[in-house]
């Protein structure tokens, strides 16, 4: 899994692509943990190129959100409709602010 991290003035963007499932969610979790351990708590997860998200991936985000709030938060950008629908279906949507595009997400901080 290729993970890109981009630092901005008030937040950091993490981006990955393709599938997120049980096989690679731990790696994503480590990437988030690297940020929070450095004191970064304003994080944008850019989901532009994420095509599939299993529950393992959602739990990485939830765990990261628990670490980031209330000092900061994880926001989500550009989620594919199918993934967004499944997120809402399981009642997890309320735990994240979701933006339609990356610029809005970064600008929210």
């Amino acid at each position: 899994m290729e993970i890109q991290t981009t630092e901005y003035k008030r937040c950091t963007v993490i981006k990955t692509s393709g599938r997120i499932d049980g096989s690679n969610a731990p790696q994503l979790g480590e990437a988030f943990k690297t940020l929070t351990e450095k004191g970064v708590f304003n994080i944008v997860f850019d989901m532009t190129d994420v095509t599939f998200m299993a529950s393992a991936g959602w739990w990485v985000l939830i765990d990261t959100q628990k670490t980031c709030k209330p000092r900061g938060e994880v926001v989500l950008a550009n989620i594919d409709k199918g993934i967004r629908d499944s997120l809402k279906l399981v009642g997890m949507g309320s735990y994240f602010t979701i933006y339609d595009d990356l610029t809005s997400a970064v600008g929210s901080f």
Partner: protein, 134 residues
Amino acid sequence: MPTRTYSGHLKHLAAICDFVTEQAALAGLDEAQTYAVQLAVDEAATNIVEHAYGGEGRGSFSITCKVTAEGLKVVLKDGGAPFDPSSVPEPVTGVPLEELKSRGLGVFLIRQMMDEVTYQFGPDGNKLTLFKRK
């Protein structure tokens, strides 16, 4: 009615997804229905790999897809410990963030995504049958 067999490793999840996606297309499922099948089967396969034989790297399981006039049936079989998904309580959501717990989300997704979910345990082990109507 194709059947594929996989060893108990999470690395097979992508190939499993490709398999059911191909069968979903043959069954005439639309994009949303196909995603639902992908997600449910991924969750079910992950549970088998992580729990059926006591951890990843053990055992094997099979996935059979049957295209019907009504939709797509997917049967997952493994020879591991009995696991009845109906015994897993639904995760509690709508609670404060700090109270959210991970247990049960995969099974919950399976139930929400598929139109029918049935489970049997017999001499050959666990048999989980999922059906998605088109």
